[in-house]
């Protein structure tokens, strides 16, 4: 009974508190990683992939750790040779030359900071928070439910110097 109550409480919590339930899913990461195949001006071979998170937020830290674990466990097909690493968003400016990054959940207050970094370093930023893309702060947004959607911010991509294959541009929604 207590277990059922706890589960119900968690479920209600998930439905009413958006942050933990908006966590990046494995499928989101799989889709996001595949986007790299269609970026024409990123270096090939081993490339550092920053997993940007806010260590002050538990949900953000957990989300980032999950993403890192999926890479480590092989759940994500990493044929591109990406080298994932956790990056504290508060210390982002100290990280040299990241060319690719996935935004964990809970980075909303730092979208401008992340965008400034991406613009200076030519960083491809991928987020499952589509608001970041619609606001022109992230280059690519992915959503895997109910069906896969990939959206691209032209403004952010141009600012960061990110170029995609023409075929890819035609397959996604651009803002």
């Amino acid at each position: 009974m207590l277990r059922a109550l706890a589960f119900g409480t968690l479920l209600v919590g998930c439905l009413t508190v958006s942050a933990p339930c908006d966590a990046t899913s494995l499928k989101d990461v799989k889709v996001g990683v595949r986007v790299f195949d269609f970026v024409t001006n990123l270096p090939r071979g081993k490339t550092n992939l920053g997993i940007i998170y806010d260590p002050q937020r538990r949900d953000s830290a957990d989300d980032a750790q999950s993403i890192l674990n999926w890479f480590a466990s092989g759940a994500v097909d990493n044929r591109m040779g990406l080298v994932p690493e956790l990056v504290d968003v508060r210390r982002l400016s100290e990280v040299p030359g990241l060319r690719a990054a996935i935004l964990a959940d809970g980075n909303e207050p730092y979208f401008d900071v992340i965008f400034d970094y991406a613009r200076k370093n030519g960083t491809l930023t991928i987020s499952s928070d589509l608001a970041c893309v619609r606001d022109g702060k992230c280059s690519v947004g992915v959503s895997s439910q109910p069906r896969v959607e990939v959206i691209v911010s032209q403004k952010a991509s141009v600012s960061c110097g990110i170029q995609y294959s023409e075929a890819f541009r035609m397959m996604v929604t651009e803002y």
Binding site: V148, M171, E174
Partner: protein, 673 residues
Amino acid sequence: MKLVLPSSALLLSVLFGGAALAQQLDYGRYEEIFGEPVTISATGRPERLSNTPVIMDVITAEDIGRSGARDVPTLLRRLPGIDLFHASQGTEELSMGGYVQPFGSRYMVLLNGRQVYFDGFGETFWASLPVELEEIRQIEVVRGPQSALYGFNAVDGVINIVTFDPVDDKVNAARLRLGNHARRDVAATTTQSLGDGAGVRLTVADDHAHDGGMVVQTPANLQYLKDPDRRSLAGDFGVTLGDGSRLGLEASHTDIGQRGIAYNVFYDARIKTDSVKGSYTAETPIGQLNGTAYYTLVNMPWVNAQPFTPTNVNDHTIVAQVSDLFKIGGADSFRLGVEARHLLIAAGNLNDGAESGDLAAGSTMWQHDFSPQLSMVNALRYDYFKLGRTGGKVSLADRTNPDIYTNADFDRSLTGYSVNSALVDKLGDDDSLRLTLARGLKLPSLTNLGSVQRYVPVIPAPMRPGVPSPVFYFYGNPDLLPSAVYDYELGWDHDVRAIEATTRVNVFHEMTMSHIGTPYALINGQFAQVSMMSTGSVADGLRLQLEHKAKEGWSWGGNYTYERLHEHYDWGFHHNEPLHKINANLGYALGPWEFDVYGAYTSATKNFGAVLGPIPAIFVESVKGYGTLAPRIAWHATDNLTLELVGENLWTYQDTIAQRTGPGFYASVKVTY
């Protein structure tokens, strides 16, 4: 009742196809992202199947694996609106949207964008396709006229067979199939990596079965029995170059022998096909540039047909295409394309020279996304076609009895434009609505235009003094014009989440403005086919589909098609077209076991045929409605070994008046590695 045979029937006809898209899309990687098939066949623009603005079906590799089918036509006939009829034990003829007729298909067939539709007979000889089912990623079937993308002749639709990528997809398999009718099919495919970003796939196949099923087994007919044999060798090479551009090379050779039939007149033929193709795709500052060039030689060392003395045919097709795909802003995509094509056919003793066709075409496509939900696409293509003939008679004084034209009569050109427009509205996560309008062009075949000028005496000597010997007339006509086909389709797709099924409803109205053929098959008591323009026809139809697919547990689906033809003049098409067609399938997968059964029902039709002889005659005969059943059991003994038992056509039926299709049973062993 008036009866008319299209002049393409019985004749060696030459139809040339329009633009064929190169396979410049990375199918596998996009499918990984979006979790659904992607295509470039619909508009020339890459898109997800669920987003495409045209009415389209895709048969995936998973569908093929569960089908038990031995060939592509068997897969296609399970789609709505596709008719299949058998010309012999080893040959099939398909039609889309009505117009069931031998030799004169109105749809384009492509293999990785290369036209495999055979110009010489206006026909796709399915056995001559250099592809095994294990190699196929998906078969894309686009409905309605697609001339604005593919050029002349794609007026009822396009079938594009897409194989796996030799760079990214490792297809390694060997398969042995044994069955009744002395069936013995073997095939092997291997894919080898040639370093980073490069790979090659080689495939070899050898198929054999015994001929049979001929309904009227007279000595005259039986001499045309011919076991269907097929040998195929194909290679597909691809490499991604340092700058990210992609180079592809394909080469293939097939050698088939088969009996065929057209309007109750038999022929047997050996058909050797060789093809080479190169393609190049690169990202440039002006968009994605694609270049494709290919050459196909179809050599028929002999064609032994009842109306003719044995002859031979050589058919050459050379095609070069360049296109640019680019996007301006976030909402507007464009494709610009040019194409050049050279055709040459020499048909042995069927004419006095070699007839040629040179084509130049330009096309454009524009897609505008009003919103993520609402899109519009428009495409326009203009074709210029120059007819020619060399080696024939140059003056009227030289002309022989059968040839009523001189070379100068072939010195003319044809032009025309094609249009496709479509609107797709994604009404929500589960619904989408499509409206398509199209104007396609059907070019007269080179046979229609005069590559065959034949005057065949049935009895060499006069029957009696003063009475001409019976003859067959086969006269082309270089003064023909292209025929326009207008098509309007409305489609609604709906995902029924409660049962994880997809349902589709499509209605269409198609108008063919003119046909090419012989009004009355008999002229002055003689069997004659003289190419000329005649009045057109209207086809209306409805297609319903419901489908649930699952890798485990139950799979099921079905479709229903209603099609009705109205002819302004009695061509006989409405006789051949079944009003009702139903397909259904049920399957269950449990661990390593798969059980599937496919059923089909086709309502009654009528066929018309010709009786040769001193006094030729035309007749119409009923073909009863029929049902077929094809069960399958497969056991995946290991990850690399599959055993399969399949039955096809569990009871004998006829879909033509001349050929009886009997039950087939086979067992196959497939090893993958």
